[in-house]
Structures are given as structure tokens and as C-alpha cells.
């Protein structure tokens, strides 16, 4: 397969124009770490955007970083960390889950709208993207948004790039909000709660003024026989101490213990990166976003019918499920049990991803609108055709 690797925006425009004139569908890629998410595609050439990797601007006191869409997330993390900052939405490193060599690029992070445990407090990539520049599927360079955190000038096209899986535009530059890292953190671990009781406890914690910045639950089967419910507190030490005592009084559990900063960080990185279900065991992995209070009910409805492993993040609003590949990775059963929200097949082999809708099917009017939105950027379907929806 041909691989095109533009070094400048002008070259990128030329390459897309060429592809348009020859009607060659392009597979947009950064470093390919998330190639396994989405439907398989029939493309004739790869458009490799990893050349756009320069850090154009990083102004910590302005809370902003502008970088090439091909910049490595790992490198940017280090850069931010040196100034005591981070992406507050905690983008995960899905490399172990997906069998990839590293965590990929900023462009991929945005295209998949990644977020971690702090999603429930700080939002996702879509909440932190400020501006983008790139080339549309019409072969035209455009930019949108800006570099300031407060901006309502024109439509929020930067947000539209989030979760678009490279189907709208080939991005060259992305501008994100950077925020100060918490000075310290601690995690209260409740032991022995059932799924339902854990969801209730996490809901109570989130309804309190304790400013919980992570709420996850590992059921007994996934946690050495004793279930664990994790509640994270971040901030300055005197504040954490006060909130930890308050939280401990609020919640009841058969047993509990504390994780101090280092252990807490390691625990949340593992949850963020889906390590509990990341073993390369050939199982398919689903990511379900539901109303938090419905997480346990959903699992209860499924667990007697399907052989599965699971855990909860986002206070129950995010359910990770690992299932066998049989019966189309149980797609129909999972989607039928879904009370609200959506289910995305994050890990499955290529043939299965060609048979089962990877993304949640949409109501007809919404699906038609999404097709028109796609056409407004990419009228002939030159970018990642079929990645999100089957090409009709």
C-alpha cells in the first residue's frame, strides 16, 4: 500500500487534491496505535500525519499548548509534567489493551476523544481542545477555534474533530488547554461492597462536597476475591486530609484502607489504562457509557447471560466489559440491555469489527444528519471511508 507522508500543510493539500482527482480513499494515521478501533477500511493509501510533530508553543502561565497533531502524547506529557501541568482529562495509554507500542499522538487522542477517570470532573479531550488546523476532505486548508480558553467565535469545529476518527479532516495542528497538576493525592479504598452498594457509595461520594476526582469499582472476580471501590481525592495536603475524614464518615463498608500519593497514582494509571481487562487473551472489550446510577443494573442484567469480566469507572457511568468473541461479541445482547447511552467495541479482531456495528447505531434522523456533516467536510468520502459507519 502506498504511504504518503506530508511535511508541510502545502504538501498535505497537494496529496489530498491528488487523491481526490484519482479518487483514492486515504487511511489517515498518526502512529497507528489505535488502528484497531473502528470498522476495517478498504483504502488504497495511507496518509501518515506523524510528520506534524513540532511543539509550536507552550505557555504554562497561559495554560495553553499548541503542537502538531502527530506529536507523541508521551513526549507532551513529559513536557507538561516538567512545568507541573497535565491534560486534566487524563488521556489513557491504551497500548497494553490494544497491543500497541506506545500511547500514540495528540491527533489520535482527539480523534478518539479519549479521557480517563477524571472525566467525571474535568471532561474529555473535547472539553480541552481549543483550536485546530488541518485539511478537509475537499483538499482545502482551514482552521477553527483559537488559542485562548474562552472563545465562542464561530462554530466549535474543534469539538467536532473529537470522536470523529479521522473521517472529517486531516489535522496538522491542535491547541489544547493545559492545567496545573494537583500537588498531592490520596485514595480511599472500600473493600467488600457489592456492585450495587458500590454504585450507591460512589454516588453519595459524588453528591458530597468532597470533590472526588475519581470513582471506580473493581468487582471481587476482577480483584483477587475481594471487591474494591476507589475514591480519589486530589489537592493540597491539608484539604485532602479534611475531605478524606469527611468521606470516610459518610460511607459504610466492611473494611477500608488508604492509598497514599505514589500508590494512588499507580492505581489510577492502571484503571485509566484498562489494565484489569487488558490481558492479551483474545477477549473482546466493550466500553459502555451510561447514566452512572444504571451501571450496576446493566451489569446485573448481563452477567448471568454472558460470560464476562467487568469493572466500573466514572462512578458507574463507564462500564468496561470483556467478553468472548462468540455471538458477535454479544453485541446484540449488550445493546439490548443498555438502558441509555452507548456501547463501543474497543477491542476485537478485524473480521468481527467488519460484522458488528463498532459504534452505537443511531436513530435514522441523527444518522442522516451525521452523514450530511461528514459530507460537509468530505463530500466524496476520501478520508477513512467506513471507519465509523458502513459505506452505503
Amino acid at each position: 500500500m502506498t504511504s504518503l507522508k506530508p511535511a508541510t500543510e502545502a504538501e498535505l493539500v497537494d496529496m489530498v487534491q491528488d487523491a481526490l482527482s484519482q479518487r483514492t480513499p486515504l487511511d489517515l494515521t498518526g502512529t497507528g496505535t489505535k488502528k484497531g478501533i473502528g470498522r476495517p477500511m478498504q483504502t488504497a493509501a495511507t496518509l501518515d500525519l506523524s510528520g506534524f510533530s513540532e511543539i509550536a508553543l507552550y505557555e504554562p502561565e497561559e495554560l495553553v499548548i499548541t503542537a502538531g497533531a502527530g506529536a507523541r502524547l508521551g513526549d507532551v506529557r513529559k513536557l507538561l509534567d516538567d512545568k507541573g501541568q497535565e491534560f486534566a482529562f487524563e488521556p489513557p495509554d491504551l497500548s497494553r489493551l490494544l497491543g500497541a507500542p506506545h500511547s500514540g499522538t495528540l491527533g489520535g487522542m482527539l480523534a478518539c476523544n479519549l479521557s480517563g477517570p477524571r472525566r467525571l470532573k474535568a471532561g474529555a479531550a473535547r472539553d480541552h481542545i481549543l483550536g485546530v488546523a488541518g485539511v478537509s476532505g475537499r483538499g482545502e486548508a482551514f482552521k477553527a477555534g483559537g488559542r485562548v480558553v474562552k472563545n465562542v467565535t464561530g462554530y466549535d469545529l474543534p469539538k467536532l474533530m473529537a470522536n470523529s476518527y479521522g473521517t472529517l479532516a486531516a489535522l496538522t495542528t491542535v491547541t489544547f488547554k493545559a492545567l496545573p497538576k494537583a500537588e498531592s493525592e490520596e485514595t480511599l479504598v472500600l473493600e467488600g461492597l457489592s456492585d450495587e452498594d458500590a454504585i450507591t457509595a460512589m454516588s453519595l461520594a459524588m453528591q458530597s462536597s468532597c470533590e472526588v476526582s475519581g470513582a471506580a469499582h473493581l468487582p471481587a472476580v476482577s480483584a483477587d476475591g475481594t471487591s474494591r471501590t476507589f475514591l480519589r481525592l486530589e489537592g493540597v495536603p491539608p484539604s485532602i486530609a479534611y475531605r478524606r475524614d469527611k468521606l470516610a464518615k459518610l460511607l459504610v463498608a466492611p473494611a477500608s484502607h488508604l492509598l497514599t500519593t505514589e500508590a494512588s497514582r499507580a492505581q489510577w494509571a492502571a484503571l485509566r489504562d484498562v489494565h484489569p481487562l487488558a490481558a492479551p487473551d483474545g477477549r473482546c472489550v466493550w466500553r459502555l457509557s451510561v447514566a452512572p446510577a444504571e451501571g450496576a443494573k446493566l451489569v446485573a442484567a448481563l452477567k448471568h447471560r454472558i460470560d464476562m469480566q467487568w469493572f466500573y469507572d466514572w462512578a458507574g457511568g463507564l462500564v468496561w466489559l470483556a467478553v468472548s468473541s462468540e455471538n458477535g461479541a454479544s453485541a446484540d445482547a449488550i445493546r439490548a440491555a443498555l438502558p441509555s447511552g452507548h456501547a463501543t467495541l474497543i477491542r476485537a479482531d478485524e473480521s468481527l469489527r467488519g460484522q458488528v456495528p463498532v459504534f452505537q447505531p443511531q436513530a435514522p434522523a441523527l444518522a442522516a444528519l451525521a452523514r450530511r456533516v461528514k459530507a460537509s467536510f468530505d463530500p466524496v468520502g476520501i478520508f477513512n471511508p467506513g471507519r465509523m459507519q458502513a459505506v452505503s
Binding site: R23, R138, P180, G235, P292, A365, A370, F377, V380
Partner: protein
Amino acid sequence: MVAMPLPDKTALARRREIAAALRQFVPGEGVIEAPVEMRAYETDGLTAYRQMPLVVVLPETTAQVSAVLKYCHEQDIKVVPRGAGTSLSGGALPLADGVLLGLGKFNRILDIDYANRCVVTQPGVTNLAITQAVQHKGFYYAPDPSSQIACTIGGNVAENSGGVHCLKYGLTANNVLGIEMVLITGEVIRLGGKHLDSEAYDLLGVMTGSEGLLGVVTEVTVRILQKPETARAVLIGFPSNEDAGKCVADVISAGIIPGGMEMMDRPAIHAAEEFVHAGYPLEAEALLIIELDGCAAEIDHLIERVVAIAEANRSNSCRVSQSEDERLVFWAGRKAAFPAVGRISPDYLCMDGTIPRRRLPEVLQGMEDLSRHYGLRVANVFHAGDGNLHPLILFDANDPDELERAEKFGADILRLCVKVGGVLTGEHGVGIEKRDLMPEMFSEADLNQQQRLKCAFDAKGLLNPGKVFPVLHRCAELGRMVVRGGKLPHADLPRF
């Protein structure tokens, strides 16, 4: 004055027929065509512009909204959606040949769900009413635009409204979980819900801040937060704008994100102090109000650090609020800054640019120069944490020349904001006010791509035309592909 598109004479001649048709969908008093009754809708918060609508329709259900829009779509009639009409950019200004669709009767909160920490509400409910409905349980809705007692949540979605707390708690876009909306075709679409992240394309993100050009929002799900246990404010005076600006940068560099961080310049300090007597330091060139919220242990710790940073930046006065009453007094001056300026001038224009914060001194200097050039006074209030400037240009609308100068002055300020790397509008929207300045920030290709997105939602361009975009292109024209040689190869192949 910004010119609106010429009205369509056919539509004007059909007023009675259109009103009669709308009565089939919205019974009784829900359709208004008497001029005296329509007068209430002739302007919004940008009062220099007035226009009577063709007909006003006030539906009460999503089905009615859908029927009205479907009819207008079939009949090629323009529609301007409206919440409470508090837009400062003319977003809800009626069109002479357009139906004004008021959402005021969508005034019920539908579901308060503490377990999922969200509220499902109709769009005509005011921003503050959401907080009032949940505050007995200690909850609130975070975005707090200064018009929050009047502005509606539907309007907040349309404008992506902010407020003084959005540095820490985000804009409307970061606090809305889902919406139900109606397209101009009458199709009803749900995006998001009580779960996080809407599926597939982030159309919820695009709808937020779309200024009524893409669809009509008929239901909104917002997340609610538990109120911080307590909050304290620090009032700090500085001998120069540079010192105050440096203090803001140092606070953020120290890893502190305050709940609010507001700055006022000398004219704004004096106007506010004369109005509310908050005890502001009149000798200061710049004033910062920094509010820390959270638990008491955290606030005590952070205030100590903020005060030290202020002292290192040559602050010449510093007061920490010792009680909730005192904290509210500190804020009273800032919150009354607009009416306070209203007392010292017959009229004022409130501008809304955002700049990279460190460029503040040169932007303020540039404004002083412009102030001399146009012979008009300006006072500045500033959401310092996020770089959002609100220059208030003082003028007298009875003097047409002053209005024109004020508008030109405002436009020059916004050009200056763009020049230093900022944007035309931080939270008030483009509307008609900044419409013709869009090319200062965006190229033709940028604007065309935005309009193509508009075409995906509203191919006939019937929703709120004349707002946001300086040049209206037909969708067919925008959709044309110009590939090398001027024609698209394989034009016979099906498009998908």
C-alpha cells in the same frame, strides 16, 4: 450600523396567511401578529438594533415546534429562535420577514436526578432557576452569566455562555450532558443524555454556541455540582495594570486555579465604588478580586500563597474577606460594574474579546490610544483568569455620530484582540454585532467550512439568517468541488 439582509417582499405580503397557518399548530394566544403585542420582541440585549418580526409564535410542546418548523421549511419562511432575549450580540434580533419562535412557554424543570447529578429541563427555564431548584440539597448549576436571573438555559446553550466561575468550572459546553432539538425540517433529534460523551460526532458540542443557526433546542440535560463548602475573596489593589497582570500569571503558574479571578481598571473601579461603596481602593490603577473556594483548610492554605504572590507583585492594598457578607460586598462592585458605568454615561457598548493574558498591558494601552482617537471614554472589567475582556465604551445614543464612533471604537478593540492572538468574542457570541468582523479572524476557506456545516443542518439557510456570517452563500455554491482542472473526476460515480 450592521446591515441586515433585505426582507423578502413575498413573505411580508403573506403575513396574515402565515399567522393563520401557524394557528393550526399553536392554538389561541400562542400566535401574535398585532404590532402592539409584538413590540416586546423587537430587540434583545443589543438595544441599538430594533426590528419588528413578521409574526411571533410561542409553542408549548416539542411537537408544536416541529410542526412550526416543518411548515416554515416547506414554505421557505425564515425563523429566528428566542429565549429571554438577553443576547448582547443581537442573536435574537427579529427579521422583518421572519417568524420569531419564542421558547418562553417551555418553562418547566422536568426531572431532578441527584443520583446521576443532573437536571433535565425545558429550555425556557432561567439559568438561576436551575440552581434554585436544587440548592436546598446543596447543589448548583455552575455557569453563571451575569444575566442569570433572566437568561434561559436554552439561550445559554445557543451562546455557550460563561460567567465569572468558568475558569475553574467550565462554560455551558462543559456542563451540558444532552439536548433534544428540532431541525428546520421538523425532525426531532436527541444528543447525549444522562451519560457522559454523546456518541459518534460531537454534534452536542457543535450545537452549543451555534447561536440559533443550526436547530431549536427543546430540552436540556445539565450536570449539577455540590456547592463548595465555603468561599473567600481577596481584594487586591495594584499601582499598574502590568503588576496586576503579572500577579494573575504568577497565581496560575503556582498551580492555583481560583474559583474566580476578576480585574477592573481605574475607570471601572471608580464607577463601581461610587455606585455600591464596596470599599474599593480608589488610588489603585488596577484591582483584582481573587476568590478561592473549597473546604476551609484548603482556602486558608491558598489565600496565604495568593497574598504572598500579590505582595511580590507590588500590590498596594490587600483585604481578605472575613465573613460571607464581606465576600459578597467585594463582589457587589464587580457585579454592578455595568449598571455603575450606566450611571456615568447615557449609554455604553459592552465588548467581549479574549486575549492571551500576558498581552493585557499592550491591549489596555492600545485602548487608551483609541479612546483618545475616538473621543470616547472606556472602562474595563476583565475575567482575568481566562483573558476575557469586557471593555465598556461610554457614549450617548441620542447623538448618531457618537453611536457610530462607539461602534468603530469597539470594532478596533476587537481587531486589536485578534492581532495579539485573541478572538472576537469570548462569551457574548457573534450575532450581528461582530458578524462583519469575522474575516479579521477567519479566512474565506475557514468561513466557508463553517457555512458548509450550517448547510448540513439547514440547507435552505432559514434559521436565523443574517447572523454570524458576513456573506451568505447558497449551499449548492458552497458544496461545489473545485479539484484541479476545475472538474471532479468520475463525476458520474455515486457520492457517499
